[in-house]
């Protein structure tokens, strides 16, 4: 068991908390921070596996450039965790390898 490499600095974030799940596990995280920061701060070091080699990957640049922080959020694959703020009730899953391209939604028949 490794110690938590990242922690939330006191006073740096909101004291109010929201609930999200990561791979089905409940996490209480500060409101208003990014999904990547929330997961790192809660001790998560493996957010995805490489679609090429399968190696474990973690957030790196935290500014939208490196695409290391990809996760599935509320069923949508390959979201950049560092660019999306946590929301109460969010369901996050690790991005395992290549995503399936979501099916194109059929034209609305009820409109």
């Amino acid at each position: 068991m490794t110690t938590n490499a990242f922690s939330v600095l006191p006073g740096a974030v909101s004291t109010s908390l929201v609930n999200l799940t990561f791979n089905g596990q409940l996490r209480r995280v500060p409101a208003g921070i990014s999904v990547a920061a929330a997961l790192l701060g809660s001790g998560e070091m493996r957010l995805r596996s490489s679609p090429v080699s399968g190696a474990p990957r973690a957030p790196y640049c935290m500014m939208g450039v490196c695409f290391e922080c990809l996760v599935e959020i509320d069923g949508v694959p390959n979201r950049q965790g560092c660019l999306i703020s946590v929301q109460d009730g969010m369901q996050v899953r690790s991005q395992e390898g290549r995503a399936q391209l979501a099916q194109q939604q059929e034209p609305h028949e009820h409109a």
């Binding site: 090429v52 695409f67 990809l70 290549r98 995503a99 391209l101 979501a102 099916q103 194109q104």
Partner: protein, 376 residues
Amino acid sequence: MAADNDVIVVGAGLVGSAVAYGLLRQGLRVAMLDEGDVAFRASRGNFGLVWVQGKGYGCSPYARWSLASARLWPAFAAALLEETGVNVELVQNGGFHFCLTEAEFFERRERLQWLQAEVGPEYGFEMLGQASLRSRLPGVGPGVTGASYTSMDGHVNPLKLFHALHKACLGRGAALHGNRRVNDIRYADGGFTVTTSRGALSAPRLVLAAGLGNKVLADKVGLYAPVEPNQGQVLVGERIAPFLRNPTIYVRQTDEGTIQIGDSMEDCGYNDTTRTEVLAKIAARAIVCFPQLANLNIVRCWAALRVMSPDGFPIYQESTTCPGAFVTTCHSGVTLAAAHAQRIAPWIAGLSRPEELDVFSGERFLDPHREFHNDH
């Protein structure tokens, strides 16, 4: 002064590196001059197709030349893998050219019929209507009228090709000089002295493979290469599970799952910046081709400059006033890489000249009775 090199290759992009690799395989000592990261690099901006179909309309030697290179590609890729360990991900399982209107479909058939009549029965192609196209390529949208298919086409990872060529050249002892913009070239006593931003080099032979830079450099050694930039923009999507097996003219998926979407064609000078409305059009067309792509995340986009001659075909020529100086320039540095290494390089090294090259002299553009246009 004694030269350390048998040949200086100006330009270390895909064209220069492929020629240099071929020269090294002939046993020559090669110096490569690369302008640096300020250069316009078609080698880093291209679409990665090894493509034959449709090329050379109105100029069948170019069709034959492209086909010959495509056939040399498997051995070329295997040689690069063997000596560098870099797999350039060559896949030649046939390519589709989409037609989005009836008019495009008929024009496409006419073009390929002409090419087949010129090149011969080995230039096989199929015109696929919408139903047969959609059974061959699942996921094609209802907005696609049809497609032409030939088994001759394929694709590679062009960045891995670039890397493999540099690695192969270095492995065979080439001197690769980076950040060396060529300022001047002098021909005297049967040799060339190339002045760069950081010192001069001399050699008895010279290859100009400087892409758009050839326009100015060719003039210095009695050659004519009136190339102009033509801008293309492309989008790169996230890596996704295998969804497209074959390369197509607008969309391809790499071995590693990346989706690449092309491309635009604009004559807008030495401008390699993207514009949102151009990218939006490219994306919209890709969604017509494959509606599922509407859900694709785009992770990068860029513009790059094609190296276009007035008729769109390559220029290969040895100087008559400065013998030993050669120009090689084209806009299909990926498709033609195998021919550049295995056919052009031996010619430059002093062996026989490929007979297909007769029509590719730069002097064709000096004929006042000919008019040129390129439709690439």
